[in-house]
């Protein structure tokens, strides 16, 4: 399903996910081949759907361990977010808004020291933006969006 959606929006699916570490291996291997990368870590959602709070926490921490590998590649824009909320107390996808952080040399930092839902609720790009507006923000922060009406 994920590969089909990726193709639908014009992306190419790379490799098969064998582990979290392998997803970042694939990113590194293809870094010179593309200008946009969508890296999707599924297992956090699975823990939420199982109602396992502690395992969801552990899998978020597992993702955190690999973040320096992305930063070492020196992306122009890095966005970390979720595709939806899966509260473990509810055991299913929910309507709750999703935290987003956007890093680039051109961003205006919030200066907040802990990434989380409540921190992002007062974020400098918010408080709430439709998820579909994420890509225009990414392209703008990459310096690839011309002025309009000039």
């Amino acid at each position: 399903m994920y590969r089909g959606v990726a193709r639908l929006v014009g992306m190419q699916a790379l490799g098969h996910s064998e582990s979290v570490a392998h997803e970042f291996d694939v990113l590194e291997q293809h870094w010179d081949d593309y200008d946009f990368f969508f890296v999707h870590l599924k297992r956090i959602d699975s823990a939420g759907e199982d109602g396992d709070f502690d395992r969801k926490v552990a899998r978020i921490e597992q993702a955190d361990v690999h973040l320096p590998r992305v930063l070492d590649l020196k992306p122009d824009v890095l966005i970390v977010t979720g595709d939806h909320s899966t509260p473990s107390k509810m055991k299913y996808h929910s309507w709750h808004p999703v935290p987003v952080m956007l890093w680039s040399e051109n961003c205006r930092p919030d200066g907040v020291k802990k990434f989380g839902e409540r921190a992002c609720s007062t974020g400098g790009l918010g408080p709430r933006i439709p998820g579909a507006d994420l890509m225009p923000l990414a392209v703008a922060h990459a310096g690839r969006l011309e002025k309009f009406g000039a």
Partner: protein, 97 residues
């Protein structure tokens, strides 16, 4: 934002790199009224350090989603209005008009 209009403003530049790291189902809830969410509970020094140099917001949802529409949303599509997920009989699913 009007995506079709924005597409006209995008400058081709294959030298800049954008990474969208999606932690599936990231958003959560506390298990008690004064508690923390899963993300707020997690020990995430790298994410926290990066957020200190980043800008944040909450991406609005309003609806409890199924799967595929959410992946398309992160890539600029509007899950409810932009994409037809059912093609004509015998056809294939594809972007709506």
């Amino acid at each position: 934002m009007e995506l079709e209009f924005i597409k006209q403003l995008v400058e081709p530049d294959e030298t800049s790199k954008i990474v969208l790291l999606v932690l599936d189902g990231l958003g959560g809830l506390p298990t008690k009224p004064d508690g923390l969410t899963e993300l707020e509970t997690a020990d995430t020094p790298n994410l926290d350090d990066l957020y200190g140099h980043s800008a944040g917001f909450l991406a609005a949802a309003r609806l409890a989603p199924g799967g595929p529409r959410l992946r398309a949303k992160g890539c600029g599509h509007r899950p409810v209005s932009d994409v037809s997920w059912r093609g004509p009989p015998g056809g294939h699913a594809g972007p709506g008009p």
